[in-house]
């Protein structure tokens, strides 16, 4: 029987046994490096701040209060909504969303291209996509800054070609930040999409063409729905780290438009030195992401339940 079809059937759980002892290292690592730090952050966010960093072990809601309410300089005025941090969050979400969109627009055709090469050359293309990642993120971001600054190679080249008369101000703009995020996380978009396009059976495209679908209809009605899980995975993998990123916003955006990542970084490193507040901001960010993912997963589950 058609192997592609058979493989889409859910494999019975009975045939996927994983023995508990083999999982111990995994649990240890997840517990130590994932759960413990998150619990620590959760605890810190409810403690009292020590000036110049650190915490005092005393329960306090001050960090969350500071995030949401403005009580004046001395904390004695009637509380009003504090917009500063909400604006930072919204701005960060927009930046991350634009970066994710950029990654998708460039990443999907790239992944599709690679997946349709001959098997022999595919690994070379994949290798090329990951080559920039052999260099540290900081260095890559700094070189990006060098490339796009006012008298950097990009502007010089464009002026040399006569495309522009004056350097375009790219550096220290939102666009520079989006570009930096896009550059930082592109492979996280390409790789999962590649994995799902590679499994896609191109006979389905032929069948669709045979049934009077043109190229666009094939893309929208057949290819995209089938590789959708890969696209979602890629978007999550790009969006989530973009949301908390601080290198690109700092180096390429100047410190002009504060984003969540920089805000949190400041609390732990900079002069602001407010650990509970940094922890609270992190927890709020984490909760937002988890809630969004949860809603998405629920909707997917309901949709596939409807289909069955």
């Amino acid at each position: 029987m058609a192997g592609e079809l058979a493989s889409t059937r859910a494999v019975s759980r009975t045939f996927a046994p994983v023995r508990t002892p083999l999982l111990i290292p995994t649990w240890v690592i997840i517990g130590f490096f994932l759960v413990a730090p998150v619990l620590m952050m959760l605890a810190y966010s409810f403690l009292t701040k020590e000036f110049r960093g650190g915490v005092i072990w005393e329960f306090s809601l001050a960090a969350y209060d500071q995030f949401i309410f403005d009580r004046g300089l001395f904390g004695d005025e009637p509380p009003q909504i504090e917009w500063t941090y909400i604006v930072i969050f919204v701005r960060s979400i927009i930046q991350a969303a634009v970066a994710t969109l950029l990654c998708l627009i460039i990443g999907f055709p790239t992944a599709y291209f690679i997946a349709t090469r001959s098997p022999a050359t595919r690994s070379m293309w994949l290798f090329l996509v990951t080559v920039p990642y052999w260099v540290n993120l900081l260095i890559r971001t700094v070189s990006m800054k060098f490339l796009i600054r006012d008298n950097g190679p990009l502007n010089e080249a464009l002026m040399g070609l006569g495309v522009i008369g004056e350097p375009i101000a790219l550096i220290n703009t939102d666009f520079a930040v989006q570009l930096g995020l896009f550059y930082s996380y592109l492979p996280f978009m390409v790789l999962p999409i590649y994995a799902s396009v590679e499994r896609y059976d191109f006979a389905l495209s032929e069948a669709a063409a045979d049934l009077y679908a043109n190229r666009w209809t094939i893309l929208y009605k057949v290819i995209l729905p089938i590789v959708w899980p890969g696209i979602v995975a890629g978007c999550i993998l790009v969006f989530v780290p973009s949301l908390g990123a601080f290198l690109a916003p700092d180096l390429l955006g100047g410190a002009k438009n504060f984003l969540i990542g920089s805000l949190i970084e400041e609390q732990f490193k900079g002069n602001a030195g407010n650990w509970p507040f940094g922890a609270a901001a992190s927890m709020i960010l984490l909760s937002l992401v988890l809630i969004a993912l949860f809603i998405y997963a629920r909707r997917q589950a309901r949709r596939s339940a409807q289909a069955a």
């Binding site: 592609e4 389905l204 069948a207 063409a209 045979d210 049934l211 209809t217 729905p225 089938i226 289909a307």
Partner: protein
């Protein structure tokens, strides 16, 4: 024949993949309403020819006409031809009904028409109650029917089927053969059917084209292909056949005869240009046209020793080592225990049924 009688006209089609020549100049006419089969061994170019007609491959040389119109340059989505793929290629994210409706939607049929036709076609392939299922929730035979329904629903002028039954087990395959043939007759759609199973080809087709190595060896009705093969390849490929080396001899009555090396002479048929008197030739005899007789009663001068008896259920097949010449197969109907009166090692003569021997000159 007028243009309306010829569904597909393939003229000198050549297809090369780099250095590989998959089709080396194929010419064919497929008639309107016909069940036409492309038959040939693996790698002979059947799928390639089908893909050229569907438009998935570009033709290297030659042309393809659909009811008189050159379709060689049209993309597949602009050809009123649909395909049933060997592995079905059903859309896994759509229900059965959505799969079937896909082509009609693209053609812009009205919602009501699509619903009507989907229901009618699903009833035709007996899948009415499974319309809401996904392909992964169907058996192989059911998937095959969905593929057929999906391809037929938009009322194509020609339906192409690439070994659609090869993934099914024998029982289902035999049932589907009859059903496919019935569906073809009911709908009046021209079917171009690819198979490498000669039995399938013989039972279903109006006409068969036998292919080998990118060429067409013979086109004809099942009867013509089986009874009057053009050459040894066709004779060998369609059913089993015995081949004997003979010398051509004109009988006293002007009819054709074959002379065996031992001097025995028997009458035979000759097709096309009759071979020269005295020329070396082959004679083809189907196993069921031979029968075992006591040595003295042979009408052909062929004698030998039984060295193999194979029980086939409805038939019994004997292997006979000829005194002069190769081993031959003889097939007798199993009518009762007395037919097995010949045993291993018995000396026998062979009788040829009238018209059972066919002369071929290579």
């Amino acid at each position: 024949m007028s243009e309306q009688d010829i569904a597909i006209d393939v003229r000198n089609a050549v297809k090369r993949f780099g250095a590989v020549t998959a089709l080396a100049g194929v010419s064919l006419t497929i008639r309107d309403n016909e069940f036409f089969t492309l038959l040939g061994p693996s790698g002979c170019g059947k799928t390639t020819l089908l893909r050229l007609i569907a438009g998935f491959e570009e033709i290297t040389e030659g042309e393809i006409l659909l009811y008189g119109e050159d379709i060689g340059t049209l993309p597949p989505n602009r050809r009123p031809i649909n395909t049933v793929f060997q592995h079905y290629a059903l859309f896994p994210h759509m229900t059965v009904a959505e799969n079937v409706a896909f082509g009609m939607r693209r053609l812009g049929w009205s919602k009501a028409d699509i619903e009507d036709q989907t229901g009618r076609i699903l009833d035709l392939v007996k899948l009415g109650d499974l319309a809401a299922r996904r392909p992964a929730q169907l058996s192989g035979g059911q998937q095959q029917r969905v593929a057929l329904a999906r391809a037929m629903a938009p009322r194509p002028k020609v339906l192409l089927l690439d070994e659609p039954l090869s993934a099914l087990d024998l029982k289902l395959r035999q049932a589907m053969r009859i059903e496919l043939k019935q569906i073809q007759e009911e709908t009046g759609i021209t079917f171009v059917f690819v198979t490498h199973d000669q039995e399938e080809a013989l039972t279903m087709s109006d006409r068969i084209a036998v292919m080998s190595a990118g060429e067409i060896r013979q086109v004809g009705t099942p009867h013509e292909i089986y009874e009057a093969p053009n050459d040894r390849f066709v004779a060998d490929f369609i059913g089993e056949t015995n081949v004997l080396d003979v010398t051509v001899q004109r009988g006293p009555d002007g009819a054709w005869h074959s002379r065996l090396p031992n001097g025995a002479v028997f009458p035979c048929e000759a097709a096309g240009t009759p071979p020269q008197d005295g020329a070396a030739a082959h004679v083809l005899i189907r196993p069921e046209r031979l029968s075992l007789v006591p040595e003295a009663e042979s009408n052909s001068g062929l004698t030998g020793v039984v060295d193999q008896i194979v029980y086939l259920g409805t038939d019994i097949q004997y292997g006979v080592r000829l005194d002069e010449g190769p081993d031959v197969l003889v097939r007798a109907q199993n009518v009762g225990s007395d037919t097995t009166s010949f045993r291993n090692g018995d000396r026998v003569g062979l009788a040829i049924a009238p018209g059972g021997a066919r002369l071929l000159v290579d």
